[in-house]
Symmetry: C2
Subunit: 432 residues, 2 copies
């Protein structure tokens, strides 16, 4: 055992197995987990990455699957395939049920996976602020299955409206409500409006899909609250232009099979999509450690736990603050940076370098798109809106996709859609 490892062990009560390759376990193959695995490729360690799904998902484009613009396989790739050249890395398709920090084991039902270092990157899920019964009426968008289910629901609403003889029912089917005006809510509402106004406009004989009502409900005073106020104002204007009704300072008080209740008034709506609240995954419970209100684990400046210096929590599961004390946003680039940072830190420790610089978030800015022709960009030194911003948005996403898989097919598809207003993946599949 190297001297430094011995010192480490004494200092932090970390027990590494003697004379064996260190075992690194990563839970979650989102941006954080995947880039941690990528960073550990050349490390002399046994790396195991565990995920409930067989695929890594390019989540920033998931709304495109939900609105029938892209196919699942355009934005998701088998984790095994991405990591197939990583000969030190094993991929496990399984569900973590807990962590035994005493014996340094990850629990998968009755199986266990021992670790010397543990990286937890299990992300976040949507929350209904205590109203979990709303979920079945107002699904959220986190996985491929969520997206294909929402796609089916949106397309079926048009079909049901077409078949419906009752005027009020027809209106209910043609009312689409998106709750929450963060980037996902804005993207969903904008794309649904385009779908109704343009893409399916010629497809029906009884209804005029252009008459569909698309509502975007936001409890706060503006859309895209994480952007500068000027860009929020522009986004609201651009949404209106697409035919989206934006209702600010309208909090939802109920979701049921008829529709949504806002400020005491029931709005009949067959499709309600939830893009309002986010709650960190169960990691805090597994570790029995301190979390913030949103369930995010409070970590040290090097993203480890105070009590267990060999356990790291990254991405949406962790509360990380930047040098100014502001929480790092829950976006893909932040998770990637944290994954890379932790991989480097663990590699250093394994080779005996125990000094660790604190994680520093590099802010490359924030983007959101509003339909097919405008976007807002808030980067250090660059604020933009409109069509040129949309072009940059597209280029940035293609650039980031390159990190995972050749994007030629996806780029072709986008271009084709842009030219024809057709949405290629308009399939109603699966059971209702």
């Amino acid at each position: 055992m190297p001297l430094t490892t011995q010192i480490l062990n004494r200092l932090f009560n970390v027990t590494l197995p003697k004379n064996s390759t260190p075992k690194i376990v990563i839970i979650g193959a989102g941006f954080g987990g995947l880039f941690a695995a990528k960073g550990l490729r050349r490390t002399d360690a046994e790396v195991t990455i565990i995920d409930q799904q067989n695929h890594h998902l390019f989540q920033p484009l998931l709304y495109q699957v939900a609105t029938a613009g892209l196919s699942p396989s355009d934005i998701a790739w088998p984790i095994r395939n991405i990591l197939k050249k990583h000969h030190n890395t094993k991929v496990l398709l399984d569900t973590v049920t807990g962590i035994n920090t005493q014996d340094s084991e990850v629990l998968l039902g009755d199986k266990t996976v021992p670790y010397d270092y543990l990286i937890i990157a299990t992300g976040a899920k949507h929350t209904y602020f205590g109203n979990n019964n709303w979920e079945k009426h107002a699904p959220g968008l986190k996985s491929i299955d969520d997206a294909t289910n929402i796609r089916r629901q949106i397309l079926m609403a048009f079909e049901q409206a077409e078949m419906c003889d009752d005027e009020n029912e027809r209106k209910r089917f043609l009312t689409f409500t998106v709750v929450g005006a963060g980037p996902t809510g804005v993207e969903l509402a904008g794309t649904i409006a385009e779908l109704a106004r343009r893409t399916v406009a010629e497809d029906f004989r009884h209804i005029d899909s252009r008459s569909a009502r698309v509502l975007l409900l936001e409890g706060g005073p503006r859309v895209l609250p994480s952007f500068p106020e000027k860009l929020s104002r522009y986004a609201k204007y651009a949404l209106n232009d697409l035919g989206v009704e934006v209702l600010l300072e309208h909090s939802v008080t109920d979701c049921n099979e008829r529709g949504v209740v806002v400020a005491g008034e029931e709005i009949p709506s067959a499709t309600i999509l939830w893009a309002a609240g986010v709650q960190a995954s169960a990691a805090g419970r597994w570790l029995d450690c301190k979390t913030d209100k949103a369930g995010r684990v409070i970590v040290s400046p090097d993203l480890s736990l105070k009590e267990h210096m060999n356990i790291f929590v990254i991405g949406d599961t962790a509360l990380v603050t930047d040098s100014a004390g502001v929480p790092v946003p829950g976006i893909a680039p932040a998770a990637k940076q944290q994954g890379r940072y932790v991989a480097k830190l663990i590699s250093n420790r394994i080779t005996g370098d125990v000094d660790s610089k604190a994680f520093r978030y590099k802010d490359y800015g924030n983007l959101a798109t509003i339909g097919r022709k405008s976007a807002v960009i808030d980067m250090p030194g660059l604020r933009m809106k409109g069509f040129l911003a949309w072009i940059i948005w597209v280029l940035v996403h293609i650039y980031f996709l390159i990190g995972v898989r050749a994007p030629l097919a996806v780029a072709t598809k986008w271009a084709w859609q842009y030219l024809t207003f057709g949405r290629g993946a308009r399939l109603i599949t699966g059971k209702k």
Copy 2:
């Protein structure tokens, strides 16, 4: 009412509503139904096409979705979208429950759709020869949902083998059995063998996916029985070359959760795919008319029913014989020709031309592919096998796809796969 219509009415007891546009109802939007609708585009009639799915499916490539080569949206397109320029045509997404020939109405649960002319093109489904309990162990391949379920099952078998500690269980997970050596069975077995031998070969750490056993069971004496014997022999040789074990004259006597029983011997196999028997849809029962053993409706030379000259049955649902008395095969080109023929015949009748020439099947031949590098072609005047046949197979399919949608994206995807041996749609989605 034109004189001819009156004569028609008297002659055949067909009641057309007075002074109104004739109503044509098409059940099923497969190749037969879709090409009937296309043929009726300029006919002065109200056309309604009813399907249980919102999409037309290019079934000849469905095995590619089941084996993770293509995405559902590469081979399926919304019926509404294909027919959006047909201003005389309405698309109904609904399930037919029966036909009231007395009142000339199609029944959709408690709704009815009246018709003056009816075209039934409801296709076929797989049959288990009375052993319907085999279905849950040995799914067949007819719909997009079938294909994504089979895809999940195949990919999960590798995952389960990777996680499995028991030698026998691991073997069971790595045994893939295809029942029936018609074109679909041959295509499935060949592609699964390639998936195991090449595509996922580098993905796993505990198992060697190349050791997977792919079995093709056929009750008859040769593979591809509808092809000339010489091509059957070649196909068997080519399958062996890909690593498929072909067992001829091996009839399945049981399928259960452990595996398949053949000639008294149980072969443990976690994945069993059914490509053996085909049974026509329920149309014969709806119409209460004469069918053959496979449930196909026996039609007149003009594809109508003897008892109801305004009802036509086409495609896999009908037993049609060519001039030599040989049944027309249940393949896409035959269904398309019948759809076009019936559309023309009905158009003629509406404009007063009651003469109808009998349907004549034009045989363009038969193709089947065996993996990525060989195919067999049996065309009038041309028999081919091997790589060049495969190139022709690809070109023919791209040509036929053009009839429905621009195939550029699909062609790109194929080329990419061919060069890289990657299969792009390797996603495990949906519930188990």
